[in-house]
């Protein structure tokens, strides 16, 4: 990192190299042998995610939908209703833990657990900054794609174990949908992996850093990258059962889909898993196509915006805000579009997205081989 150009102009305090230096210093802070600074930096995204997943995902969804619909949304608990979700969780905690008598108790109980674990396991390979990643696997991307598939098991266990026809419908639809959409999603991500030449999430992010900010992102590195980007975004909506692909939990057809019979804390766990995987796919798309923790701001001459906004804390900030942006887009779509039908969903997957994903794959390969 170069600081030589900065003294030419004097940026205001807490913008530019001041914050940069501060975050660098924090990263280097150690008390005897204990890397306290790194732990603090690592805690920042985790706190964000925990806050988001536990409360502000649901709150944000309710507020965003309210603003789109000329309503106020939750307003009563706390200022602007910000404590609403906490109140809801407290309420859910107090609920009786009901297992229907006719249900398969083991599957019914284990289902939400598998879902929850499946959606949060992928967080291990998400890099939240140059210094922080849970596990920098050399097959990180592959692991992330694979671990999402674990959710299918949880959904099927929940739907089958409930011993309810609507739950079974929801579970079967969901499994068909997630398994089908994994193909275009995986191929689209492979395009990103091809451009990087590695499957390690941290490496993919590192390869997208450079002084011109967003110009180094894979989305802008090749003229065809928008195609896998779009395909993965659509497929990720289907993988997380979000509208317009929320067919497994279509409330007007299947009551509530695979979690019809769930109540209390098990219901809350399913909900947390859903919001967790929403963030997860948003983070993956940001890492593979939009540079992950890299700052999108370019260096313009002496105005070294990129240098000023790069660092461990900034990294966490960028990836969290990119993730939140995609979550916002997901919510936006959910509150605008009607729901597709099952056969239309499968048509879209097998006859539109998958062929186009292959086309994108071949084109990316050609681009990578013949264009330096």
């Amino acid at each position: 990192m170069t600081f030589s150009a900065i003294p030419l102009i004097s940026p205001p305090f807490l913008m530019g190299n001041n914050l940069n230096a501060w975050s660098e210093a924090l990263a280097g802070l150690t008390i005897s042998w204990f890397p306290l600074g790194l732990v603090i930096i690592a805690a920042i995204p985790l706190v964000f995610i925990a806050l988001y997943a536990l409360t502000y995902g649901v709150y944000g969804e309710r507020k965003i939908s309210a603003f789109m619909q000329d309503r106020l949304g939750p307003m009563e608990v706390g200022k602007w209703g910000i404590l609403q979700t906490l109140a809801d969780i407290l309420k859910l905690l107090q609920k009786e833990d009901i297992v229907p008598t006719a249900a398969d108790k083991f599957l019914f109980v284990i289902g939400p657990g598998i879902l929850f674990v499946g959606s949060f396991l992928a967080f291990a390979v998400l890099p939240f900054g140059p210094a922080f990643i849970g596990a920098d696997l050399n097959v990180g991307l592959f692991y992330a794609i694979g671990i999402v598939a674990l959710e299918v098991v949880g959904i099927l266990a929940a739907g089958w174990g409930s011993n309810n026809k609507w739950s079974l419908y929801g579970a079967v639809r969901s499994v068909a949908q997630i398994v089908s959409y994994e193909i275009p999603a995986a191929i689209a991500l492979l395009c990103g992996a091809m451009m990087a030449g590695t499957l390690s999430m941290q490496q993919i992010s590192v390869l997208q850093s450079g002084p011109y900010g967003f110009a180094h992102f894979f989305l802008f590195q090749s003229p065809i990258a928008w195609l896998p980007f779009l395909i993965y975004f659509i497929a990720s909506l289907a993988e997380t059962n979000r509208a317009p692909f929320d067919i497994p939990e279509a409330e007007s057809e299947l009551v509530a889909g695979y979690f019809t019979e769930y109540s209390g804390m098990k219901f809350a766990v399913i909900f947390l898993a859903e919001y967790g995987s929403m963030f997860m796919v948003s983070a993956i798309i940001s890492i593979v196509f939009l540079g992950g923790w890299n700052s999108p701001l370019p260096n313009i001459g002496a105005l070294a915006l990129y240098d000023w906004t790069t660092g461990p804390v900034w990294g966490a900030f960028w990836i969290v805000s990119k993730g939140f942006f995609f979550i916002f887009v997901q919510m936006w779509l959910r509150w605008t579009l009607p729901r597709l039908r099952v056969d239309q969903l499968m048509y879209l997957c097998w006859k539109v997205l998958t062929p186009f994903a292959f086309v994108a794959f071949v084109l990316t390969a050609i681009w990578e081989i013949y264009v330096p």
């Binding site: 317009p244 067919i247 057809e253 009607p338 729901r339 099952v342």
Partner: protein
């Protein structure tokens, strides 16, 4: 063979011939499952129960079971006097109370043979057309929610709220008005009511266009409704369909035009029917479009009424209201165009009593719902939801 409402589900192929015969081809026989949809189900619009036989996602037959909301309307009518029945009619189709009251009053007024003041007729047209818009807003909004779009529903309810406030101002109640009385109306319109109604008309016109852009022109919405649940016009007439359902099948039949009552002959309005360019005639999308266009027509009817309405000088809304309703012996059938179709009341009087000997209501959605079994055969479960939504039932009127 024209493939309409096509569904491919593994080894099962469902297709539809031109004459509305559903063909289910199966390579592999599987066991059919009985799926009980309702009475507690989000998309049955109340307490309708559909007992479906399903083969995977394909519904091979769906039988509606009624009566969960049966409140003995017709028996009650034999127990109360004629004006006392008016509030009960509100509770039949609770989304269009004004129109129900009016249909009942038309029947009794025919039996009594009384002359209605001209201003009363205009007031009745205004309030019932407002109520028609409110009712269609609910129909469109809940149809959107059946298909998974939540926002149009709330937009519809936001606009409906304005109508309900207007009607509350006129009658004192938001849904169960008891406003239209035999021979008159309960109260004259409040002083600035007409001004506020024209403000609402100006406000609502762009909102209706916005709703069309958001929902009717939405690609996914069109995909979900076009070609689904097609009802040919001859079958629709044989089933006794009426209202937007029949017009959706391309039959230009509107009681306001074909059997005119009140001041409708003086008013200029179109009877919208689908022309087959945007939708297949008789499908769910046609019925939705008919409702959307009817709201516009209602707005223009209201505007015309405002300009033609006589002033309120020396007007007594109850001048023609009989003190004691005791019709001469006889029977009568009075009908009016409800938002859901033809609502008719058959009343028999013995000439001695102040209570009807018999009062039978011909409910439009009950008749429309009777085609459910035919419409649902061979559809997918999501399409079944789309079809029920397009019928726009109000269980209060189906079960009475």
């Amino acid at each position: 063979m024209q493939e309409l409402g096509m569904a491919e589900q593994g080894s099962i192929r469902v297709s539809r011939k031109d004459n509305n015969v559903v063909v289910i081809e199966k390579d592999l026989a599987t066991e059919e499952m009985v799926l009980s949809m309702g009475p507690q189900h989000p998309s049955t619009h109340g307490v309708l129960k559909l007992e479906c036989l399903t083969d995977g996602e394909v519904v091979t037959s769906a039988e509606p079971y009624l009566g969960y909301l049966h409140r003995c309307f017709e028996k009650h009518c034999e127990m109360v006097d004629y004006p006392g029945i008016v509030p009960y009619t509100d509770r039949m189709d609770y989304l269009a109370g004004m129109n129900n009251e009016w249909a009942y009053c038309i029947a009794v007024e025919k039996l009594l043979d009384i002359e209605i003041p001209r201003r009363v007729e205009f007031i009745r047209v205004i309030v019932s057309e407002l109520n028609r818009i409110a009712s269609h807003l609910v129909a469109i909004g809940t149809y959107a929610i059946d298909l998974g779009a939540f926002t149009p529903f709330l937009f519809c309810f936001r606009d409906r709220e304005h109508i309900l406030s207007l009607l509350e101002w006129a009658s004192g109640a938001r849904m169960l008005y008891n406003y239209i009385w035999i021979g008159g109306v309960a109260f004259d319109l409040p002083a600035d009511f007409i001004k506020r109604v024209s403000e609402f008309v100006d406000y609502f016109r762009p909102k209706a266009v916005e709703l069309c852009k958001l929902l009717t022109e939405n690609e996914i919405f069109v995909k979900r409704t076009k070609g689904i649940g097609i009802m040919p016009p001859d079958v629709a007439i044989n089933y006794g369909w009426s209202g937007p359902m029949l017009r959706g099948s391309g039959v230009q039949w509107d009681l306001r035009r074909n059997d005119p009552y009140s001041v409708y002959p003086e008013l200029d309005f179109k009877v919208p029917v689908p022309d087959g360019r945007f939708s297949d005639i008789g499908d769910c999308l046609s019925r939705h479009i008919v409702r959307a266009l009817e709201m516009e027509e209602s707005l223009s009817i209201i505007e015309q009424c405002i300009s033609k309405m006589p002033g309120s000088e020396g007007f007594n809304p109850r001048s023609a209201v009989p003190k004691r309703v005791r019709p001469k012996a006889g029977e009568v059938y009075g009908r009016a165009e409800n938002p859901r179709g033809e609502l008719g009341f058959y009343i028999q009087s013995d000439g001695k009593s102040t209570r009807p000997l018999r009062c039978k209501a011909r409910s439009s959605c009950f008749v429309n719902l009777s085609a459910m079994k035919d419409l649902s055969r061979g559809q997918l479960i999501p399409d079944l939801v789309a079809i029920i939504g397009s019928i726009d039932i109000v269980l209060g009127e189906v079960d009475r």
